[in-house]
């Protein structure tokens, strides 16, 4: 039983890590709560579903359609709405409300096109799963865990080793000094939205492979991702992955010992503990403000 709980924790943690990292990557340079990211995540699942059931495309192509849908939606929001708000030096409250509004409109659009009922994407026959030390894991779950690990490493390398990653970190560290250094902020935002939205799409698709989903799938996933970002520390990809794992594990232990209705409460209790005792997160730096 313990082995199964640990494994379930790892699987849950991996999905939170994927959405958390995708959200955290965008939050790093932009510093506002991109609520609509929840829909970008759901768009991955629904894009794939549409490609399979409406266009009869093979799974591999359908997945690309799903990731593409997420990326296009994320980029469209950035290039039209957010960029216009930045030109007007809108306050972070305006950003938050706009983003929340976008989330609601887009989620309703999904309902309109696909209906509110529960959907699923099957990859191959329904399988019993593989046995590891008495615990069972399905191929879709193995995919979730391994993709989550691979993408954590990939995003870390992107941020630390590439020119683009350095520019993202520079804007995150001191946006004005990045401007002064001649870094094009719009370009940096464009690229982070492209990568972050594609990652969210991948997360949405992987979760859809594993479990049933409905148009509201994004909001819960986003909340868990955000909790992981806060626990992990903004700017630390490893921290986010660790934070996600912590929530996943704690939730599964909670399900085992006290019942499944406490899952969300557990995540927010952990969040509260971190906010009170370690607001900068596991590995993050203290947040500070700067102006010229």
């Amino acid at each position: 039983m313990l082995a199964q709980v640990l494994l379930n924790g790892l699987i849950a943690g991996s999905t939170y890590a994927l959405i958390g990292i995708s959200f955290g990557l965008i939050y790093m340079p932009t510093r506002f709560f991109h609520f609509a990211h929840g829909v970008v995540y759901a768009a991955g699942a629904y894009g794939t579903l549409a490609a399979i059931s409406w266009l009869n495309l093979p799974l591999s192509i359908a997945v690309l359609v799903g990731v593409g849908t997420s990326t296009v939606i994320g980029l469209t929001i950035e290039c039209t709405v957010y960029r216009a708000l930045r030109r007007r030096s809108a306050s972070s409250l305006v950003f938050l409300l706009t983003s929340l509004g976008l989330y609601i409109v887009l989620q309703n659009s999904i309902s309109l096109f696909f209906g509110d009922y529960i959907q699923s994407i099957r990859i191959g026959a329904v399988e019993e799963g593989i046995d590891i030390l008495g615990a069972r894991i399905t191929p879709a779950q193995i995919l979730i865990v391994s993709m989550s690990l691979a993408l954590t490493v990939a995003v870390t390398i992107l941020l630390k080793r590439t020119k683009m990653g350095r520019a993202i970190r520079a804007v995150a560290n001191d946006a004005e000094l990045a401007d002064i250094s001649g870094i094009n902020r719009d370009k940096v935002f464009f690229r982070t939205f492209a990568i972050g939205s594609a990652l969210a799409g991948v997360a949405g698709i992987l979760v859809a492979f594993d479990s049933d989903f409905c148009p509201t799938m994004g909001i819960n996933a986003l909340m868990m991702g955000v909790v992981a970002v806060i626990i992990g520390g903004v700017g630390s990809i490893h921290g986010i992955a660790l934070g996600a794992l912590l929530i996943g594990m704690a939730q599964q232990f909670g399900v085992w010992k006290i019942g499944s209705q406490w899952q969300n409460a557990i995540a927010f209790v952990i969040l509260l503990i971190f906010l009170l005792f370690r607001p900068q997160g596991f590995l993050g730096k203290k947040v500070k403000k700067v102006t010229v």
């Binding site: 560290n173 001191d174 002064i180 001649g182 870094i183």
Partner: protein, 233 residues
């Protein structure tokens, strides 16, 4: 090299600068002095395109560059070192310089980097170190290095001596003289350490309450205590 004509700007509705005329002659060091809050930083920021100019014109190399983007200015050989030893304090010394030389092709970046290491050997020793851990003087060197790596023709500096010990102030001033003399960089520097900056500059402006209160050779006011006091009250 740089010519500012009848410039007016401010923040929101509040006007800070009125009718500013100033010039930075090619190959020379021009200084701006004046009391706290008089608008010196605002002048540099509006010249560089960080805040927008309301009225008037900024000319550089006989071109109108009023309200041009900072990226365009950087690519055109203008560099700005803002007030307060600003560096990317969550990044290493080397990464700071890589951001400074972001638009350089790989090969010329390496050449320019070597020049910076030669100019500031202390920085090379700490290149892998997080720049947040540098001392105030080292941060200022890094801030200068970040700006110089693009081989600018015009260097705008805002109080590079702020928070440095008297010895380091002289040290930084000597660097500025060296950068100007050896690399032929035109310098426009805002400074509160009046005595020190008057030693190195060729022309000085004083801004008081957002207006030019003095323009002339530094020698004329250097020993005139009454005049200096008047400019700062």
């Amino acid at each position: 090299m740089l010519k500012v004509e009848r410039l007016e700007t401010g923040y929101g509705k509040k006007q800070v600068l009125f009718d500013i005329d100033l010039e930075a002659a090619e190959g020379k060091i021009t200084a701006i002095i004046g009391p706290n809050g008089s608008g010196k930083s605002t002048a540099l920021k509006s010249i560089f395109g960080l805040i927008s100019v309301w009225k008037g014109a900024v000319n550089y190399k006989n071109k109108d560059i009023t309200n041009r983007s900072t990226q365009a200015n950087v690519k055109d050989g203008i560099a700005f070192v803002p007030q307060g030893n600003r560096v990317f304090d969550e990044m290493t010394v080397l990464e700071n310089l890589e951001i400074g030389g972001f638009h350089l092709p790989k090969k010329s970046f390496q050449t320019e980097l070597n020049k910076i290491w030669e100019l500031f050997p202390e920085l090379e020793k700490r290149k892998k170190q997080n720049s947040g851990k540098l001392s105030g003087g080292e941060k200022q060197m890094l801030a200068l290095g970040r700006a110089l790596i693009n081989s600018p023709r015009l260097l705008l500096m805002d109080e590079p001596s702020l928070g440095l010990s008297p010895k380091l102030v002289t040290f930084i001033m000597n660097y500025i003289r060296k950068i100007n003399h050896e690399f032929g960089v035109t310098v426009l520097i805002v400074e509160q350490k009046v005595r020190e900056v008057l030693e190195v500059c060729h022309h000085v402006y004083s801004i008081k309450l957002g207006k030019i209160a003095y323009s002339g050779k530094p020698e004329i006011i250097k020993d005139d205590k009454d005049k200096l006091r008047e400019l700062f009250l």
